[in-house]
């Protein structure tokens, strides 16, 4: 089970995402933004960070990297893709996921151990959670406010494509407390919090991040 992790200039959590994949039983493969090549991986993680400094808009410049052309093509063919934080922003800018991310409503960076509710287990990256389960995942972002127009939000809700919601005080003003969403097929998932920081005892507030990776590994292995 080979899972690619993309590195853009300014990616920060790429190493952590690779560590998480390996700790959870997968084999991580480093992918380079300039290469239009997915090196035969079975799934892709677009990690967190400030690619291109988050200048212009978070994710706006990375979207045009050669590797993203391949990711978009593979996603259309059903390959599982997980975008974490900056990765989520890149997926939105690439139109693989609807909506967009703007600055947090309080205009400050926020790093905290965030409670989430699992709203959909019907995705490639969430099948090992329980529906409605409450988990804790590290959250850290500056531009984490998920926004979309009302019809889009209604459609996401109606089609069960809200994957995670924030519990407690909304940390960034995201519309309808949305923390993560999925595409129509349930293979492309975007998530603001960072599961890769919740995979090792003593280095994060929980181990709840593991099941993102074990979910996709199980799915690919059993496919």
């Amino acid at each position: 089970m080979r899972i690619g992790v993309v590195t853009f200039p300014g990616s920060l959590d790429d190493h952590d995402a690779r560590r998480a994949v390996d700790l959870c039983g997968g084999e991580s493969v480093a992918l380079w933004h300039r290469d239009a090549d997915l090196r035969g991986v079975d799934a892709v993680v677009i990690p967190g960070g400030f690619s291109y400094g988050d200048y212009l808009r978070a994710g706006a410049i990375s979207r045009f990297a050669p590797v993203m052309t391949e990711v978009i093509r593979a996603a259309a063919g059903g390959m599982p893709v997980l975008g974490i934080c900056n990765g989520f922003q890149i997926l939105c800018e690439s139109h693989l996921l609807p909506g967009a991310m703007i600055q947090n409503d309080h205009r400050t960076f926020i790093c905290r151990d965030q409670r989430l509710r699992v709203e959909s287990t019907a995705t490639a990256w969430t099948s090992q959670f329980e529906q409605g389960e409450e988990i804790t995942i590290v959250l850290k972002n500056q531009d984490g406010q998920f926004v979309a127009d009302e019809p889009t939000l209604d459609r996401l809700e109606g089609e069960g494509r809200v994957a995670f919601r924030y519990l407690g005080e909304n940390p960034n003003g995201s519309y309808r407390d949305i923390a993560g969403i999925t595409d129509e097929r349930g293979t492309v998932v975007g998530l603001m919090p960072h599961p890769e920081h919740c995979v090792e005892t003593g280095f994060g507030p929980s181990l709840d991040g593991r099941r993102f990776f074990t979910s996709v590994i199980e799915r690919v292995v059993s496919a």
Partner: protein
């Protein structure tokens, strides 16, 4: 050297945290008359030589594809920066009267 200005604003229906913050701060500084504030982006693109129609067309396309995200933003203006505009000839100090359309 010619220059082209591209102005991008958040769509009216999207909440603008930055604009809201400015809106909140103005009355505290004694500016009571402003009922709303929106903050957007202004890009100044330079080209060698004079600005041509082709440059403007390119700028418009760049504005749509890269400089704005159509899900949340509108490109509200793309135009050549002409000499009577005070770009980089700042309004400074007390007089302020050198500014735009006073």
């Amino acid at each position: 050297m010619g220059r082209i200005v591209v102005d991008v604003m958040l769509k009216p229906e999207i909440l603008d945290p930055q604009g809201q913050a400015v809106r909140g701060a103005l009355p505290r500084l004694g500016f009571e008359d402003f009922t709303d504030v929106r903050q957007g982006k202004r890009f100044v693109l330079s080209v060698d030589g004079p600005v041509t129609d082709d440059h403007l067309a390119q700028a418009r396309e760049a504005a749509q594809t890269l400089l704005s995200n159509p899900v949340i933003e509108d490109v509200v203006d793309v135009h050549e920066l002409t000499h009577d505009e005070p770009e980089q000839a700042p309004i400074t100090g007390a007089t302020g009267s050198s500014g735009g359309a006073a």
